[in-house]
């Protein structure tokens, strides 16, 4: 089943130099297992491939039902150097919400995940 992040998480992002961080928090504690399993570093790197020129790091915070992603080379130099509207990565958080995961049907049903129909 297709599940869009918009429907199962909320997010906040910020910057450190030319790196944007995106914190991804499950809307329900039991949905953390879905992002923990399926929202992999590679999946996020693929999602943002056109927007960043560095790598991606992923950290787990099960205590907050959350993952933290670092997107390196995401801010056009960062801070005052960057010419981008979102020079400080404030709304990278929302671009993450467009990501669509493939979750096995039985898991999705058991956890009552909302299905995404494009």
């Amino acid at each position: 089943m297709k599940v869009r992040l918009l429907d199962i998480v909320h997010t906040r992002s910020g910057d450190k130099g030319d790196t944007a961080n995106v914190g991804v928090i499950a809307l329900r504690p039991e949905w953390y297992s879905v992002i923990e399993r399926h929202l992999t570093r590679d999946r996020v790197a693929e999602h943002f491939a056109d927007g960043i020129n560095g790598g991606v790091d992923r950290f787990e915070l099960p205590n907050l039902h959350a993952l933290n992603f670092l997107l390196h080379g995401a801010l056009g130099g960062g801070g005052t150097v960057s010419l981008k509207t979102d020079a400080q990565g404030k709304v990278y958080s929302t671009a993450m919400l467009r990501l669509v995961l493939d979750v096995p049907d039985d898991v999705a049903r058991k956890l009552a995940l909302p299905e995404f129909r494009a």
Binding site: H10, D50, A66, N68
Partner: protein, 454 residues
Amino acid sequence: MSRIVRVAAGQGFWGDWLEAPRRQVEGGAIDYLMLDYLAEVTMSILQKQKERDPSMGYARDFLGAMESVLPAVAKRGVRVIANAGGVNPMACAHALQAAASKAGSASSLRIGVVSGDDLLPRLDELLDAGHTLANMETGEALSTVRERVLSANAYIGSKPIVEALERGANVVITGRSTDTALTMAPLRFEFGWSPTDWNRLAAGIIAGHIIECGAQCSGGNCLYDWRNVPDLANVGYPIVEASEDGTFVVTKHPGTGGRISFHTVAEQLLYEMGDPHAYITPDVVADFTTIHLDDLGGNRVRVSGIRGREATDKLKVSIAYRAGFKAVGTLVYAWPEALDKARLADRILRERLGNLRLEFDEVLTEFVGASATHGGLAGEIGDVPEVQLRIGVRGQDRATVERFTRELAPLVLNGPPSVTGFAGGRPKVEDVVAYWPALIDKTVVTTSVEVLTA
């Protein structure tokens, strides 16, 4: 042990809501008012102001904030801790004394002034002594940009703030203290936490992280259930109610707007987060994966379980240096086919810049309304009512950037149709100040505290 110490956040950055400090002291009982003014770029701006006028170089908003809270400081014993000193904490303290004199309350102030973070006067001495101050991200030695350095400040921790409080200061003004130390220091002082009590120090740091951005943990800029966050017009800024054991409750004054819940606090915890296992500060390395949040309801979230470990032997140094010039200009194209018109305008402009042989380090075009924030992820956007063409250039030569700013307006008459939104005039050429993060041995940085009385 049930004593509670309340630290209230009144400013999350320089430019934050002017009403917030007064509302924090008038809205209910608090012990400390914490005011955070400094961002990475702020120090270089303040350094430039100090070069023009040696009595400047601090966050001037602080004086207005203090005027609005002076009665609480004088009569109710509320203490204020602020990194408003920028690159000139002593001048900030003197300005505060002058303002308090005018208000007739100078005698009630004992102003603790923390200095020693400013490394600019010592930079060559430090480089000569073998401290390379290499860029943490690129590894380059500072000597490559030495001539262009505008400011250099070590991020200092809670120790000098604690010392100022021990010496009776009721207002503490620092330069480049870490944002989190401003909250942790009063807790360490009040509860007598040992400087090696890593778990409690980490709890104080995380309390600081939660409230250092002001209302961003109490419903402001909160994505979760954003439509239903109540009464943001009267948003309550956050307050930490701390206990000796390192646990604390995040809350806000009764009757204020906004919201404090698991979700608002969790979002703020993840803001600007790096490796959550190792949040490095001068005082302690805090582990964000140990934080336990209990949403108690009624805008109260209890925070417990926090663990920390010994700090490193380095301090982070924030260095700002001149890195050329930039300018950004915009034009708005209207339906029909607004995006295609904006794209054509961009191609024309770039061709003209090429014909003029103008060279830049970077030329960036964004189509606001179509792809500026999400790029290609936004997908097909359809025939939208309008698109803003936003084009920016950056380069080392001011005249070249200046010439770019003359090329935008002509497009109104000699480019694609249906264009408007140029009333702001020609784009402004700005100095680019770049940021150079480095590390230095802790032993090299000596802080000092002076306590001023009227």
